[in-house]
């Protein structure tokens, strides 16, 4: 694994962006309101938030597709406004809603972008072949883009995003609309990119499991502001959603469980009783003692942190 510990890939401070539209009545939409974000080199950081939160705007500014109204943004040591040209050679982006020229074939699309990044001849052919193999596009290399399925189009977008061997990769909902098995492979590939090549990855996603699985850190953004950031575990603790003790009991229903001090709520789910408690380590022995004293048979016990999805719901409120 390549390590750049302590070096910043992204250092954005107080970034503001307002979109103006409509005529003669102007409408203003404040997409970002003073966002600050730092990302260490080699990290995978997730930017999560509800629709219209400002995720894509933030990513687009970092990727030089948009210019910020205010604030300073340094990416890989370059100012995104003044040194955009030099920066573009070192980063790339893939979108969950990819689109390329409809008549070009898979290999031609990758080769076109490869040439823009200065590849030619045997080096270009090797890179195209390598990416086609990596993204499992071998049988489709001569298929026109318009004839590909959604999943295959996304794989083309991923291949294109790696054509310049980027140091920083932006992935905007990379598994949107993919079949579960393909999503798993894409996620494994993203993890491998970081592990083997040390690529810094910033991704947006609506899939909490994906963020939980891939990201070292998560930034929750809503209304153009970052509301919380930290590791998935830190965020779960930060929101104080409690922890969940799941019990399989006989008899299945124990109405008095929710009345035990420290138990926040209990719900029945698929034969399990899920008790959300303030602190599992402290409450588990108390719960087990109370159930045993009441003659309830305990068939199974599981303790888990709340899902990131619950954190998301809480923050998005």
């Amino acid at each position: 694994m390549v390590s750049f510990l302590g070096m910043l890939a992204i250092d954005a401070r107080d970034v503001e962006k307002t979109f103006r539209s409509g005529w003669p009545r102007r409408r203003e939409t404040q997409a970002l309101r003073g966002v600050s974000l730092t990302v260490e080199r080699g990290a995978i950081v997730g930017v999560l938030g509800p629709n219209g939160a400002g995720k894509t705007t933030l990513l687009s500014i970092l990727a030089t597709l948009l210019t910020p109204d205010r604030g300073t943004v340094m990416v890989l040591g370059h100012d995104v406004v003044r040194e955009a040209g030099a920066l573009r050679r070192r980063l790339n982006m893939a979108s969950g809603r990819p689109s390329f020229l409809w008549s070009l074939r898979v290999a031609e699309i990758i080769a076109f972008y490869g040439r823009l990044y200065g590849l030619s001849g045997a080096a270009l052919r090797r890179r195209v072949d390598g990416l086609i193999e990596l993204c499992e596009l071998g049988p489709y290399r001569r298929v026109p883009y318009s004839d590909l399925s959604t999943g295959l189009k996304q794989r083309v977008a991923l291949a294109k995003s790696l054509v310049n061997d980027p140091e920083l990769l932006f992935l905007d909902e990379p598994t949107l609309g993919l079949d579960p098995d393909v999503s798993v492979r894409v996620r494994a590939h993203i993890a491998r990119l970081r592990r083997e090549q040390g690529i810094t990855i910033v991704l947006t996603t609506h899939y909490m499991r994906e963020a939980d699985e891939l990201c070292d850190e998560i930034a929750f953004i809503k209304g153009g502001r970052i509301l919380a950031r930290g590791t998935p575990g830190e965020l779960k603790r930060q929101i104080r959603l409690g922890e969940v003790i799941a019990l399989r009991l006989d008899p299945a229903r124990v109405p008095w469980l929710a009345e035990i001090p420290g138990v926040l709520r209990c719900v029945e789910l698929d034969g399990w009783v899920e008790c959300t408690v303030d602190e599992a380590e402290k409450r588990l022995p108390e719960l087990l003692r109370a159930l045993h004293a009441d003659g309830v048979v305990i068939r199974n016990v599981q303790v888990r942190e709340p899902e990131l999805e619950e954190v998301f719901v809480e923050l998005a409120k």
Partner: protein, 264 residues
């Protein structure tokens, strides 16, 4: 950026446009159908009106110029239009590509395609109406074609700027702008027949001078003292202005978010 990378980026766009052109049926209509229809209908009309050989040559030069400029400028406009239609504009501008690569790469394809159109129309004009494009000589013909290509580049880049400035709704400019320019440049008539105010605008269009210079070899006295030099100077001025306008439009699109909106 090294020269190698500069040429490679231009070549990438050239290859892309050439492949797109070879695989889409509407390019075929642009390349063959409309130009042939234009020369045949104008040629037959000149026969019906019993125009002299010189007069018929005059209007056929205009008809051929119309097709050559039209095909070439559309190809330059495709530098942006193809990506607008396929919603891939953001990928284009995420890459280290300058507008010079986009427009030059597209222009190369445009010149090749419009040269093919020219050869076809010249052959058709010779066979059907006895019109001889080489009568003025190779140098005059080369200058005429250069004038057409330069005009096409200026109009095409200006169209790219308009599309990047106003978004998809400005697509109509791609087809409308060139016709406006050609009408003003005296495509079927000398600009001396235009009202003074319109003629003043016509004198600001480079193609006016290149048409005048070429037609002077078919028996029409030139209206200008140094038409080719004037045409080249005006072309250089407009080329610089169009390039600057496109660059400014891209900067604005990055600021307003239109670049992203056109990719959604």
């Amino acid at each position: 950026m090294s020269w190698r990378n500069e040429l490679l980026a231009v070549w990438a766009v050239t290859l892309r446009n050439a492949l797109m052109g070879a695989r889409n049926v509407f390019f075929f209509f642009e390349l063959l159908f409309w130009p042939i229809v234009g020369v045949l209908s104008i040629g037959l009309m000149s026969r019906f009106l019993e125009l002299t050989e010189a007069q018929a040559s005059f209007v056929l030069v205009g008809t051929i110029a119309l097709s050559v400029v039209n095909v070439c400028q559309l190809e330059v406009a495709y530098a942006v239009l193809l990506d607008v239609w396929s919603k891939s504009l953001k990928h284009q501008f995420l890459a280290p590509i300058g507008i010079r690569h986009l427009t030059l790469g597209s222009w190369v394809v445009g010149m090749v395609r419009s040269l093919a159109v020219f050869v076809l129309l010249a052959a058709l004009g010779r066979w059907a109406f006895g019109f001889h494009v080489l009568q003025p000589g190779w140098f005059a013909l080369a200058m005429f074609l250069l004038g057409c290509f330069l005009t096409a580049w200026v109009v095409g880049v200006a169209v790219c700027a308009l599309i990047t400035l106003f978004g998809n709704r400005a697509e109509a400019f791609a087809w409308a702008t060139v016709n406006m320019v050609l009408v003003l440049a005296g495509i079927y008539y000398p600009i001396s027949v235009l009202p003074d105010s319109i003629a003043a605008i016509a004198r600001a269009i480079p193609l006016t001078y290149f048409l005048d210079a070429y037609r002077s070899h078919y028996g029409f006295a030139s209206e200008f003292r140094a038409p080719i030099a004037t045409g080249l100077a005006l072309s250089a001025l407009y080329a610089a202005l169009a390039h600057w306008a496109f660059l400014a439009a891209i900067h604005r699109a990055r600021r307003t978010g239109l670049l992203l909106k056109m990719s959604e």
